[in-house]
């Protein structure tokens, strides 16, 4: 049996300066007045621009691409502070977390020079084009096809659950480009401007009544040769390399944190042994999870690919996020109200209504457990 490695740890105490700075920034920003559960899925482009202007986006990237050349641990602190504050970070989230690094790693010089500074300014957003109507957990079955057309490509197909495509300028999409070999071969990533002719974006309203998702249709979409991102046929490996970044961050266990914070405020006004026990039970799960996630951040900073460890964090993190609402619903019962001006009532409703998505997005619980089982040596 392979044992996960959480022995690497970074000294986060040395990051106190960046923590104080982002905390002060967030406290002074207008969004502080209205925190959200699952806030990294609430888009507010103006907030993203303010973050970018203050230097909190593209933090680890080279300065020549508008980045801050800060450490990945400094970025971790900023990201966890944004989640803990419930600030609406959805517009830039994907671009800052994974598309930017992906372009930095696989993109052409022109792609980097054009797009990265705009992401770092908080003005450019990128959607993920992975899932399709018939390809969810079975991602390798994608059918959207890119066919060579002279120097360029023609894309036909459809992508779904595409968060904030309606606000984004680009989509990074996984397309089938070849027939040869297994299902995971012949896949290629493309970086496509969403304004390209032939692309239609249709809203999908989520259970909480929000328009975050979209379906994106591609009908004879002509793109130039340089829309290709990375290697032709290398799409699967590129997608996999994003996952450790995608699965282990603070957003994988802090989506309901603002509710827990609101619960503390309430419980201090009317403390009881039951409320203390409920709070303690949640915090005793959260703190070790954060320790695991920070260890992964330190390992990622050293260039390791702790995918097994990331799967463990996501497995446990999504259960925790879902349980916060579930457990707190038992206290101050029947007060969940999405329209309430009372933050506790509103956040309880948000956390409960967003909860089903926590163990689906970024790899379902079942997929994650399959990955863990494989690393344990069971498959």
């Amino acid at each position: 049996m392979k044992a996960p490695n959480f022995d690497v740890h970074a000294d986060f105490a040395e990051l106190a300066r960046v923590r104080t700075a982002i905390r002060e920034f967030l406290a002074a920003d207008p969004v502080a007045a209205r925190p959200h559960a699952d806030s990294w899925n609430h888009a507010d482009p103006e907030f993203s621009c303010r973050l970018g202007r203050a230097g909190w986006l593209g933090m680890t990237w080279p300065k020549k691409y508008g980045g801050g050349e800060r450490s990945s641990l400094e970025r971790y602190v900023v990201v966890e502070e944004i989640c803990a504050a419930g600030a609406p970070a959805g517009a830039h989230w994907i671009a800052d977390r994974q598309s930017g690094p992906q372009i930095l790693r696989f993109g052409t010089e022109q792609q980097r020079a054009e797009i990265l500074p705009a992401i770092a300014r908080g003005e450019c957003y990128i959607a993920i084009g992975m899932s399709e109507p018939d390809s969810g957990s079975d991602l390798a079955s994608v059918r959207t096809r890119a066919t060579r057309d002279g120097d360029g490509w023609v894309i036909n197909g459809r992508k779904i659950w595409t968060s904030f495509a309606h606000l984004s300028q680009y989509i990074i999409m996984l397309c089938r480009t070849g027939e040869a070999g297994g299902r995971q071969q012949g896949l290629t990533q493309f970086l496509v401007p969403l304004a390209t002719k032939g692309i239609t974006i249709r809203p999908i309203v989520s259970m909480p009544g929000r328009h975050d998702f979209n379906e994106v249709l591609f009908e004879d979409v002509h793109v130039p040769a340089d829309a290709l991102l990375g290697q032709e046929g290398g799409g699967w490996a590129q997608v996999i390399s994003e996952l450790a970044f995608e699965r282990s961050g603070p957003e994988r266990f802090l989506s309901s944190f603002v509710l827990l914070e609101a619960f503390v405020t309430r419980a201090r006004r009317a403390p009881s042994a039951e409320r203390a026990a409920l709070l303690g039970a949640m915090v005793s799960r959260l703190v070790p999870l954060r320790g695991m996630s920070m260890s992964i951040a330190a390992q990622l900073g050293q260039g390791a690919a702790p995918n097994f460890e990331a799967a463990l964090v996501k497995e446990m993190g999504s259960l925790f996020e879902q349980d916060v609402g579930e457990q707190l619903l038992s206290e101050f019962a029947s007060q969940a109200d999405p329209a309430s001006n009372d933050p506790y009532q509103r956040l309880l409703a948000e956390a409960m209504l967003h909860a089903p998505s926590f163990s689906i997005r970024g790899g379902t619980r079942e997929i994650l457990r399959g990955i863990i089982a494989r690393d344990l040596g069971l498959r």
């Binding site: 049996m1 044992a3 996960p4 959480f6 923590r19 803990a84 504050a85 944190f257 827990l260 914070e261 503390v264 419980a267 201090r268 403390p271 042994a273 409320r275 203390a276 026990a277 409920l278 709070l279 303690g280 039970a281 915090v283 005793s284 799960r285 959260l286 703190v287 070790p288 999870l289 954060r290 320790g291 695991m292 260890s295 460890e309 463990l312 964090v313 497995e315 446990m316 079942e366 994650l368 457990r369 399959g370 990955i371 863990i372 089982a373 344990l376 040596g377 069971l378 498959r379």
Partner: protein, 346 residues
């Protein structure tokens, strides 16, 4: 291999070389495994902090945790953890630890120990290895005491008890007894936290071993023409508890780090014990289920870990106790957000 991993590995080897089926069986019947104890004591493993090359608290604690993990992954039926903890408390009070097995009070609500005019009177309940220890570290009021265990045992002032793993948990009565040593002012609450953190280390290690045994079994046991580990129903149960093990291990390490830096000990110990209790419980449940009937026999090894996990979950504070303590610690700081408490470590 790091020095710490080497110490853990060496301790496991030393234990395994002496932990025969016969030793395990006779220990269950209450026979003290003297030869094995001597072997561990000779190598200094019963006072692990003394192995440290520096005086730094952090190094001694890291070594102690490595030795405790080794005792838990082997289900060693000896009070190494108790002796190590007792030695640590004694050292902080400037008392030289007597050579031999030491016990610690269980810090039970039912303890009634008083210390007046140089004499100790009252009950200590469910003392780990009370019958075998030469001395017991306990607290009366806020005074730390080193008590003579054997004279209480010899004067028939002991009621023998066991935990579910068959480890001695004895109740001792003291009547105007003279302590072996008096250590001065002690913080019983901090001592309880320290013991809870140690049990958390043991729980996490026992849970990790139970998971390892179970994964191995699932890859070997064939049913319906294939290894049962091929079934998703089995895979998903084991995957779910793999994350429980990892989080208990991380929580236990965080608690030892808190003691090493003398910062936020109560906060970290509460988290570690609550987490380890719950995680190990979940692991034991799945480990037993995946093993089927063979896991429910005395002959097969899993029971040694399950019984220790189920016993240790209740010792030095069950989850309900620590969750409430943790919640109260947080609620008692009205000027601070939960997030600022978490990021600061208290």
């Amino acid at each position: 291999m790091s020095d710490i991993a080497l110490i853990e590995d060496t301790t496991v080897r030393t234990i395994m070389s002496g932990l025969t089926a016969e030793v395990i069986e006779s220990a269950e019947r209450g026979v003290w495994p003297a030869a094995l104890w001597e072997r561990l004591a000779e190598q200094g493993l019963t006072q692990p902090a003394a192995i440290a090359e520096s005086d730094a608290a952090a190094e001694g604690l890291e070594i102690e945790a490595a030795v405790l993990r080794a005792t838990a992954t082997t289900a060693l039926p000896l009070p190494v953890a108790e002796t190590a903890l007792a030695g640590w408390f004694l050292a902080r009070h400037g008392i030289e630890a007597p050579a031999g097995p030491l016990a610690l009070a269980a810090f039970n609500d039912g303890d009634t120990l008083t210390y007046t005019s140089g004499q100790v009177t009252g009950l200590l309940q469910r003392v780990p290895w009370g019958r075998d220890a030469i001395a017991i570290v306990a607290v009366a009021g806020d005074t730390m005491l080193l008590l003579d265990a054997q004279s209480a045992v010899k004067s028939a002032q002991m009621t023998a008890g066991l935990n579910m793993a068959g480890e001695p948990r004895d109740t001792l009565r003291f009547n105007s007894a003279k302590p072996l040593a008096v250590g001065g002012k002690a913080d019983a609450d901090l001592m309880l936290c320290r013991c809870a953190a140690a049990r958390a280390v043991q729980l996490a290690a026992a849970a990790a071993r139970a998971l390892e045994i179970t994964v191995e079994y699932a890859t070997q046991r064939q049913q319906f023409g294939r290894a049962i580990g091929n079934f998703q129903a089995i895979q998903h149960q084991l995957a779910a508890v793999a994350s429980e093990v990892a989080s208990a291990q991380v929580a236990a390490r965080q608690a030892y780090l808190a003691f090493a830096t003398a910062k936020g000990e109560a906060f970290a110990a509460a988290i570690a014990k609550a987490r380890a209790n719950d995680a190990a419980g979940a692991v034991a449940r799945v480990a037993q289920q995946v093993h089927g009937a063979i896991g429910y026999t005395r002959e097969y090894q899993l029971q040694r870990f399950t019984r220790r996990i189920q016993s240790w979950r209740g010792e030095y504070g069950a989850s309900g106790f620590w969750s409430r303590r943790l919640g109260e610690l947080i609620l008692a700081q009205p000027d601070r957000s939960l997030w600022s408490i978490i990021t600061a470590g208290i």
